[in-house]
Assembly symmetry: C2
Homo-oligomer: 408 residues x 2
């Protein structure tokens, strides 16, 4: 992975950077995600072996942090590495969606993973009740929740297997824990390679490697300018990264959209996921000519491991487009992203950077995940918010509870 | 369709509204989309009848305005009305995506629609060349482009059917023209009902109906506060509207992100599509506690035409959640949206409104489409931009051309 920043960082002072780095060092003692790349995965791999080979589909009942991470990794890898099982997600109370999702699978050949950190997520339990009443076997469930939650106790009661979230790992930082690893391993993803990718970034950052200065500089720039550039666009040039951008939106939005710890102010940087070249025909106009309120990070893939080439044929009247002949699609998409980057650099006042990942594999997405988790922690520290809570969503839950109890 | 505004509008002055309405009246003479609900569709319906019943898949090769509209309508209706044919889209130069899309279909039973307004869209012609070289029959193509474009001339040459975009209809405003209607009709969508929905909003707006005041008030509010609320979130409570929000993002972003006509300023309101309840577990925290830079429009469905109910079962240790028992999923999702709306209203400084559509059918999505097109035109007029062009994307295209010609 490479990361080039196309905005000025030379004025960032050494002391600021040292202080920031120290703060993050301190967090490692009590925030759980930092250490996930070093965990042991034997228990997960052994459990995967116990699942019958007749199981064709893994269905995750979970929402937000319980689904977005695994979905991002699965959908990223799918086009280059055929999964051993299908992975589907129940992540809505929309009845039309529940029916459509059920119709995609043979329920008898499906193993359900019920994932809820608190154990009482309304959407998850509602859908689980529906599935549980529909199937009458209890063999096909595995639960992932906090130790001693009501869901844990239920799982014990029906003698189903239950895995626990590691301590101090929040939902949106949990993809590299059992929450993401178990569904992925069940579908044939090499989770050791995924963690190795994350570890590579971890060691580079904490061990004075190439990514340390880059991440510190980027975080300081974003934080310093967060009222001017209140929107951050992640513009990924591959359809495979569509769900990764959704994961990033949750991570970034829910972590950084907060009241400041030491002020009465509301702050945050709004995340937007874009996919190229598609969104050149949609959102790009707004970046080029719209309000100067956006920073943009491009993600490019160095090697698509693919040789698909535009055929060398001339279409009458379309001879002008013969410049495309013989061009590999992977070269075309790279030229497209480079052209947009150049055009935006010409504007002179849009903060840009480029992330280049090597190829579509487990290690690359592991790197991207850990990189974005670190960046989120760094910016959160600098804009003085608690990166790891989400108090803002509670009031809606309380109102819902009242409504469910028949109150107005 | 209903639309309730939860922000103050009483101070909007009559004269401003009259002037704005007049401007839009004037646009009707030269901007083509306004009149699309009244077009004749016989030619499209007759052509649909000529397509062999052995064709199972309609594949659109198109990007941006050539794909997003049909995709939005098709995916909206799919869960309640089984399509007569699959509709798939080639909208990327990502080689992994092209291969994955091809593998979804039997090429011999696929009819291709090549859609490009200019006729020379790089992505579209690149993919078309690939498909064209792969298939050796030319029966299975239909083209949609501007009259006399190079693509039109090519279509004539190979004696393939070609439809034309109506005059003065831009790509992102073209879903109710042949661009959207032909692929949809080929998959069994009732395009007359779709247009009737749009016509309903059109007549209500231009004929002094209920939507006129609402739209004028909403547009004036958005325009007046576009520097403070520089982000507009469309929060739709149904998975069926996922691709509608992508259509809206293009419409809004590409139309409003501009240099002002009479100033040197860059303006725009950034569109964000959200889906409930999923994004309660992702983006909501940022709305509730983040920077006050967002207005939010909720879309709710009144009748999901579905009776899926949460079973009346008690799960040991999860008795607290028995409040869910016997609740229909469609009632739960409505309670969820209402709870979030209430919670946000309690904040007091987030501009909200609600759109309620009756049910998942052609008329509803036709209404939504025309409503958003009108709103875009109104806001564009007020913030002094040319709503219908996209000059910002040209510079990237010029650089790409150079690269393709071997330049640096």
């Amino acid at each position: 992975m490479k990361n080039k920043l196309h905005f000025p960082t030379s004025y960032n002072n050494r002391e600021t950077k040292n202080k920031l780095f120290e703060k993050i060092q301190q967090e490692r003692s009590h925030i759980g995600y930092y250490n996930l790349p070093n965990q042991k995965i034997d228990a997960i791999l052994e459990y995967v072996e116990t699942i019958d080979s007749s199981i064709e589909t893994i269905a995750v009942i979970g929402i937000g942090g319980s689904s977005l991470g695994a979905k991002a990794v699965y959908q990223f890898l799918k086009p280059v590495k055929t999964p051993t099982r299908d992975l589907v997600f129940f992540e809505s109370t929309d009845p039309l969606n529940i029916i459509a999702t059920c119709s995609q699978m043979n329920l008898d050949k499906t193993h359900f993973l019920i994932i809820s950190k608190s154990g009482t997520t309304v959407e998850t339990i509602a859908v689980f009740k529906y599935v549980y009443a529909k199937l009458n076997s209890v063999k096909n469930y595995t639960f992932i929740t906090d130790r001693d939650s009501a869901l844990d106790q239920f799982a014990q009661k029906i003698e189903a297997k239950c895995f626990y979230l590691p301590e101090s790992v929040g939902g949106r930082f949990s993809v590299l824990s059992v929450v993401g690893l178990l569904p992925l391993a069940l579908c044939g993803v090499d989770i050791a390679a995924l963690l190795a990718g994350a570890k590579n970034i971890k060691e580079s950052f904490f061990g004075d490697g190439y990514i340390k200065e880059t991440l510190l500089n980027k975080a300081i720039y974003y934080a310093k300018h967060h009222t001017k550039y209140n929107i951050n666009c992640l513009f990924a040039y591959s359809e495979t990264l569509t769900y990764f951008t959704e994961w990033y939106v949750q991570l970034w939005g829910e972590s950084l959209g907060k009241k400041q710890r030491h002020s009465a102010f509301n702050v945050g940087v709004t995340p937007i996921g874009l996919i190229g070249p598609k969104d050149q025909h949609s959102f790009l106009q707004l970046i080029v000519e719209g309000t100067r309120d956006k920073s943009v990070t491009f993600i490019k893939i160095e090697d698509f491991q693919d040789e698909l080439v535009i055929p060398d044929i001339t279409l009458p009247y379309l001879e002008k487009l013969d410049v495309l002949n013989g061009v590999a699609f992977h070269d075309l998409i790279t030229m497209q992203s480079d052209s947009v980057i150049e055009a935006l650099m010409d504007q002179g006042d849009i903060p840009l950077d480029e992330i280049i990942i090597e190829r579509v594999n487990e290690a690359s997405i592991g790197q991207l995940i850990y990189y974005y988790e670190l960046l989120t922690s760094l910016v959160g520290e600098l804009i003085d918010v608690n990166t790891y809570d989400q108090p803002g969503v509670e009031s809606g839950k309380i109102i819902l509870k009242k409504k469910l109890n028949g109150g107005k």
